[in-house]
Subunit: 328 residues, 6 copies
C-alpha cells in the first residue's frame, strides 16, 4: 500500500483550493471556443461491422481547431438514442472504429473523441495540437505548463466540453440524454465536463486523472503525474508556476459544480492515479453546484491498480446506466 | 532482435520430426472423446448488450469433462450464420460475455471456449481440469508433462476439437462455415484444430503458441515456454521425457494435415512466441494434407512483440474473412 | 522498512478472529484422515553418505492420499532417537536425500515431508495432489481457495499432522520427543502442527508463512501472498469467499492451542512473509491452550529479509534444542 | 556484445542509400533559411565566473525561428579566436552558462546552441519549436516524422548549420577556424554540419546519433531510436513513410560531402547509438566530397557504452585540436 | 516519498548521541597525523587548458600516507586567493585535471583531494589505502568497520583535515579564506572538516553522506548505506560493533563544533543520502561550538533525488560564496 | 542463449596463449611461499553436530599470511581418510562449521579454505588480505590488477596450493588421496591447483571462474567478470595492463599441466561464468602435462545458469568419487 489505507481514504476529503479567477478563466475559455459553429464534418466510415454504423466526425474544439471523433450507433436504428461521449486515456487517440464496441453494442449512440496531439505512445489518433510555441516540455502533460493560458489541458478540456455540444447536433441523438465517460485521462475529462457543461445526464469515470493535482505530483513518480514531477526535477525553479497552472485544471475543483449522477471506480493499488486523489475528487463532487449533492457511487477494487475493475466494472456500468436512463 | 532476422525467417522451414505413433496418438485420443454426446447444456445468459444474444454453453471435452463456452450472435437473427470458434490465451478463461465483441458485431455467430484449469492469472474462467494426479509442475503448461498420455495439452487440444463438433449443433449455425481463431495459446489451438478436425472453413491465428516446441524452449525464457524451461531447470533429468511429450502436441506437426485457408500474424520482436517458431509452423502448414497447399498468408509486424498487429490486424482479419466467405 | 518498525512490532498483538466452527472444521478434517492406517511403506534408499541411513517413506495424508518423505538417521544407531519432522518451503519438495543434512548430522532422526503438488518451481518432489476439480487458480496457494472444504492448505496441513503420527511409528523413534520444524511454508506448517497435534516436544520455525493472512495479502505483493493478491486482482468478486477460506488455515489462530516450547526467527526486511504477520502469530502462540503460555523465543534479524538468520540461526537452533531435550 | 564484434565493425562499411532529391532537399531547405539575417540579438550575460565572458545570443534558425545560444570566451581577450560550436544531446538544452566550461577554459571561443523544443527531459533550454501541427508523435524524434518536409530534424539540422553562420559574425571570432562538436545528438548534428556547411575547420563528435538510421531503428529499443521503434509499434502502417523521412536526415549520407578533419569516439557497448551505425558513418565520411578523404580518426572504448571515453576522450580532443589548429 | 514529508523534516532535530571518548578519539587521531610535515610534493601538471595552471600535489594524510590532489588556479595570477578544498563522491577519485573547472574558472584556487582506495567504481584516482589487514568487508564503507580504530573513514576524514593544512602551505593561497566543499561523500567530508578543523571560512555541502548513520542504515538499502546494511545482513552478529564504530564518524555529531557559515543542499527524493539524515545534521550544525550558531542555509529540491539542485544549486553556491568572501 | 550453442561449445577449443615467463612466475611465487612451515595452528572447534569432529585450522599462505580453514571429519574415525579440499565462491568465506556437510557425511575428511579478504558480500570469513597498497579497485577481483606481481589472485591461488600441503599434514589424512573441489571461484581454484600442485587424486569443479579470462571479460557484464569490465570502463587506458595481468592467472592455461581425473559441471545459461570459457578450459585440461590426457568428464545442464546441476550434480560427484577412490 503506497497510498492511504481504505478506512482513511473513506474520510479523505481535503478542500482543494480554487485559484483566483477560476470561474472567469473557464467562462472566458469556453466562451471563446463557443463563438464558432461546432460541427465541421460528418461523413460515413465504412467498416466490416454489420451491426453498427460509423461516421467520421470533425468538430471545432479549442480555438476552433478541428477535432476528430468516431460516431457509432446500432445499424438501421433511426430513433433518437442516448449518446455516450467517451474520452480516451493518456498517450492514446480514437484509434480505429472497431476498438471500442461496448456502448454501441449495448444500444447507445457513441461518440469517441480523439485527444489532440497525443497519438503515438499507446494508440493512434488523427488530431493535431497546432499550438507549438508555448513554453514547457515535449510531453502533452507538460506542454505549456508554465501558464494557465498556454497549458495543454486548457485546450483538451475545452475540446471535451465542445464534444457535448457537437454530440447534441448529430443525427438521431436525444440531447437530454448525453452521458460522459472515460478511463484515466478520459475519466478526468468526463469529470471535468460534468462540472463545466450543463444538462449532462450521467457520468461514468474510472481511475480518473487530473484529480487533486497538488498532491498527485508529490506522491507518485510514474505515469503522467511522474512526467510532471520529472519536469520539475529538471526545471527546479518552476514549481510555483507549475502549481499555479495546475490549479486551473484540477478536476477536484471542477467537479464541485457537477449535478449529474456519478458512477466512479478506483483501484486501491493504483500508482498512476493514486486513490487518495480520486477520493478527494469524489468527496468534492457536486459540493458546490448550488443544489443538492447528486447521486454518486464509488466502486473500490482493493487488489487492483490502474486497471481497476475492468470487465466486472463494465458490467456494473452497463447495469447502472440502463437503470438510470430507464427512469427518464 | 533476439530471434532470426526477417530475411532468414522467410527461409526458415525446418522439418519438425513427428514422434512415432503420432497419428495413432491423436486418433485414439479424439476417438475416445467422441464416444459421448457433445452438447451438454445451452442456456440463455442475460446481458445488457441489446444488439446481441448470448448463451452459456457446456459441452463434453476430453474424457467427457464439462467445458464451458459463451455462444453469442446478433440478436433476432434466425438464419444460419457462419460461426467463429475462438480460443483464449494462456492464463485466461472465457471471462464475461461482453469482453470479446468483434466477431458477433461483424455479424457472425461466435463460440468462445473456456480453457480448463487456467483461470486466475490474467482472466477468469469457469472450467475445471479434473485430472490432478499426473506428475509434473503446477502451472498448466507443465501439468502432466512427463508423459504424452497425461499431458495437459492433450486434454486442451481435444477440448478445442470437440468445440467444433459442439458448434455445429448450436442453433442457427451453418455447419459448412466453421472458422477457428485465436491469439497466442488460442492461435496455437486454432492451428491444431485445423490439422485435426475436418471441414474447417478458415483459420485465423496470431502469435501462436505451441509451434516448434523443441526450439521454443531453448530460445526464450519468458512466458509459458519459459515455464517449461524453468521446470527443466529444476527437473534436470526430465529433459528427454519432456521433449518426447512435447513432440505429440507440436502444432508445427499438426498443421501439416490442414486444408483450410490460413490468415496468420506475427510480431518480429515477440519473445513469448518467438517468430522463428511461427515461421516454422507456417512453412509446414498443409504440407502433408494429401492435396495442395491451402491459401495462406502471413502478416509480419516488424516493430511489435507478442501484441503483434492488434487493431490493424483485426481490420485485416475482418476484411479477409468477409471476402473468403462471400465466395462460398 | 515496508512493514512496522521494531518497537511497534514488539507490541503488535492483534486478536485474529477465528471463524465460526473453526474447531469443528479441524476436528472433522483430522478425524476423517485418521480413519485409515498411516504408515504405507518404508523402504531403504541407497545413498553415498556413509554416516547416515535413509528410507523412502510413504504415509497416508489427507483423504488417505500417499505422501512421500525421507527418513534419515545416524547410521548404525539403534537406540530410540528424538525425531525432527521438517516441512519444506513453497514451490519445493523433499528433493534428494542428501540435501538437508543438518539435523541427522546433529544426531537426530529426521523426517522430511514432501509437499503435495508443489514440485517444480524451486525444488523437486514426488507427491501428487489428486484433487484437481476444486475451483480456484492453478498455483498451490490458490487451489480450491473459494471454499474451506476444498482449499489446498486444508490438505497440506492435514498431511503435516499425519506426518507426526507416521513418525511415531518409524523404527527407533522416541515418540515423546517429536519436534516439528520448517522455514517459510515449512515454518507455517510446523506452527500449525503445534496447534493441532498433541505431545509435540518442540517447535522450530523461521520466517513462517500462513500467519495473519488477512493482513498479509494486503501488505505485500510478492511471494505466495502476492499470488493470492494476484488471484483477487483477477477474481474481483471473490474477496469475501477467499477471506472466509483463509480464516480456517490462519496459523495465528491455530497456534493459540499450542503447548510446546517455541524457537522462532524472523527478518525485519522480509517482504515474502512480513514481520508483522509473524509477530502477530508469536503473540498468539499458546494463548488459548488451556494452560500457561509455553516457553517461547523470537530471534529478530534487522537487516535480513526472507533469508533471516541462516547459518547463525541454525547454530542457535541446534544449541537451543540440545539444551531443551537434555532436560528430558 | 549486442552489436557486431570489433573486427567486423572495422570492416563494416555499408553503402547507405541516398533518397531521390537528397541534395535538392537540403539545398532548398538551407536556401530558404538563409534568406533572412542570421544574428538577431547578442547581449551580455552576467555570471560569477571571473575568467570568462558570456553573451546570450539569439539567431535565426529554420524558418527564421529564434534560436538561443550561449557565447562564452576567455575574459578580456580581444583577439580573434577559433570558435567551437557545440550541439547538445537529446532531451537537453543549452542549460545555464556555467555548465560546459572545457572549451572556453582551453582558450577557445565557444557557442553552445540550444535544441528547439527539447527542454525538460534531462536539461533546460530556452528555445521553442513553433511548428506544432505536423503529424507524428509528441517526442522530438517523432515530431512530423511522416514527411521529410515536416520532420523535426530538418529544422534542427538547419538550426545547426545556421549556427555556423551566426558564429562567424560574433565579436572576435576567426571565421576560418570554426569547429563543430557534440556528443550523441550533438555529435550527429556536428557531423551533419560537416556535410552541409562549407569551410569547417574540424569536427569533434562522440557517440553520434542520426547515423545509419535504417539499421539503428532495427537493432536497439532504447533511447531516441527506441522512441522511433515505439512509434512504429503503434503506427504499424507508417513504416515506409518513416523510413522515407529518415533517409533525408541520415548522417551517414550527409557526411559523404564532408571535408574537415574528423575526431570521433565510440563505446563498443553503446546501446543508445550502436557502434555499427557509427562505424557506417565513419566509413562514409568524406567519401563523396569531390576530393580526397579528409584526415579522420576513430577512438574505440571497448568496455564503455554511450558514455564512451568521457574525460579520457576530452583530453585527447583537447590535444588533437591544439595540434591541428597550431598548423594553421 | 520514502522518507519524512517536508513539514516534518523541518522539525526533525534528533539529538544524535556522541559515543564515549568522542573528542579524545579525534584529538588523538588528528594529533598523531599532524606529527609529520604535511606537504610532500608539488609539481606542475601540463594540460591543454590555457586559462588555468595545475599542480600535482602529494600531502601526508592519516599515518603519513601519501595522498594525491590536484591544485588548480587561474593562470598567471600571483596574488593570494581564497582556496576551495573539494572532496569527491564515493567510488570516485580526483580524476583528471580538467574534470572540475567551476571553482577555478570562478577565480578561486582549488584543491581537489583524492579519496584513498576508492578508485575504480565511477572515477579514477591515484591514492592507495595501505591498511589492508583490518577486518571488515571489501568495499570502502565496510573496510575495518568492526572497530573505531581500524575504520576506513577514520583515515579518510583525517586526510580531509590534513588537506586543509596542506592547502594553507600551497603557493599564493590566502590561509584565512579556506573553504571546504563537496557532494555526497564529499559533502560529508566537508561537514566533518568544518567540525574538526579551525579557521574554516565557509562550507558548501550537497546531499551529504555520513550524517545520522544509525538511522541511515535502517531506512535505505541503496548506495553506500546499503552496503553497510548488506554487510550486516551477512554479519548478523556484528550490529553492535558496527553501530559503535559508526558513532565515531557521524557527521551529525562532528558538525556540532562547527563555526563556519554553511550553504547546504538536499533533494527530498534522495534515497542514497535520505533527507532526514541531512536535516538531522543541519539542525546540529554549530549547536555545540561554544559560541553562537553560525549562518546556515538549506536549499531543498522537492522533486530531486541524490542529484539535488545541480547547475541551479551551483549558481547559488557561486553567488553566495562571492557575497560572503566579499565581506572579508 | 547469450553464449555459443551446445554443438559449437563441444568444438570450442581455442589455444589460450600463455604469457612470457608463465612457468617462472608460478615457480617463483610458489617457491617463495613454501619457504616457511605451512601448518600454523590446529585447534578443536566445538559444534552441536555429534556425527562430526571439527578443527579450526590456520596455515601459512602467500607471503606466509595466516589463512583460516575448517577441518571436519567423521567423529571417532581414526584411520587415514581421503581429504576433500574445498574452495569457496566469490564474496564468501569459510562461514560456520555446519554449513558444508556433504563431504564429511559421505565419509571423507574435509578442509574448507577461507578466501582472504572476501568476507562480507554473501558469506562470512575470518581471513584478512594484508596487502592493501597495490593499485587497482576495491573489489577482490580488481585488487592489484595492474600488475601480475600485485594481483589478488596470485595470492589466492597460492593459498589454494598451500592448502594441499597443509592438508597432508593434518591428523589421519591419507596424503595420496587429496581431492580438490569447488564451485564458481572455488571451481576455478580447484582447477588451478590441479595444474600447480602434484599428486592430486581428483578434481571436482562446477561453473568454474577464472577460465579463458580474455574472452570472459568481453562477453558478460555480470558477476566478477563484470566487475573487471566495469573497472575497465572507468580505467579506459588500463586494458593492456589488465589483460597482461589476467594472462598469468588464467585457469585455461594452468590446467594444461594437470594430471588428475576431472569431474566438471556447467550450466548452458550461465552468465556469470559463461559456458564457452568453461569448455575452453575443459579442452585444455591436461593437454600439456607431459603425459596422456587424464580421465575427464563434463556434465552439461542445458536449462541452468550459474546454479548448474545442484543436488543432481552432487549425487553424481559422490558416486564418481566413490568409484574412483575405490579403485585405489
Amino acid at each position: 500500500m503506497f497510498d492511504l489505507p481504505l478506512d482513511q481514504l473513506r474520510q479523505y476529503a481535503p478542500t482543494v483550493a480554487e485559484p483566483e479567477g477560476f470561474d472567469d478563466y473557464w467562462r472566458g475559455t469556453l466562451g471563446a471556443a463557443e463563438a464558432v459553429p461546432v460541427l465541421l464534418d460528418v461523413r460515413p466510415e465504412p467498416t466490416d461491422l454489420r451491426l453498427l454504423d460509423t461516421w467520421d466526425v470533425t468538430f471545432a474544439g479549442f480555438a476552433g481547431d478541428p477535432v476528430r471523433a468516431w460516431y457509432t450507433r446500432p445499424a438501421g436504428v433511426d430513433e433518437p438514442l442516448p449518446v455516450i461521449i467517451e474520452y480516451v486515456g493518456y498517450g492514446r487517440g480514437r484509434g480505429t472504429p472497431h476498438e471500442r464496441l461496448t456502448w454501441p453494442v449495448a444500444g447507445y449512440a457513441h461518440l469517441l473523441m480523439d485527444a489532440r496531439g497525443q497519438s503515438g505512445q499507446y494508440g493512434v489518433g488523427d488530431t493535431a495540437d497546432p499550438h507549438g510555441s508555448a513554453p514547457g516540455g515535449p510531453s502533452p502533460v507538460t506542454r505549456g505548463i508554465l501558464s494557465p493560458q498556454g497549458y495543454y489541458y486548457r485546450r483538451l478540456i475545452t475540446d471535451a466540453v465542445r464534444a457535448v455540444q457537437a454530440a447534441r447536433l448529430l443525427p438521431a441523438v436525444d440531447p437530454q440524454r448525453v452521458v460522459v465517460a472515460g478511463n484515466s485521462q478520459g475519466g478526468g475529462l468526463a469529470l471535468a465536463v460534468a462540472g463545466l457543461a450543463s444538462g449532462i445526464a450521467a457520468v461514468l469515470a474510472t481511475a480518473p486523472f487530473l484529480c487533486h493535482l497538488q498532491r498527485a505530483i508529490e506522491i507518485t513518480d510514474v505515469g503522467p503525474y511522474g512526467e510532471i514531477a520529472g519536469y520539475l526535477a529538471v526545471h527546479r525553479e518552476a514549481e510555483a508556476a507549475v502549481r499555479h497552472t495546475l490549479s486551473y485544471v484540477d478536476v477536484a475543483c471542477l467537479v464541485r459544480r457537477a449535478t449529474a449522477p456519478l458512477h466512479l471506480g478506483v483501484g486501491l493499488r493504483d500508482r498512476v492515479c493514486p486513490p487518495s486523489t480520486v477520493f478527494a475528487a469524489y468527496h468534492q463532487y457536486g459540493a458546490a453546484n448550488g443544489g443538492s449533492v447528486p447521486q454518486r457511487s464509488l466502486h473500490v477494487y482493493p487488489f487492483n491498480g490502474h486497471e481497476h475493475g475492468e470487465a466486472v466494472h463494465v458490467r456494473r456500468q452497463l447495469r447502472w446506466l440502463a437503470d438510470l436512463l430507464a427512469d427518464r
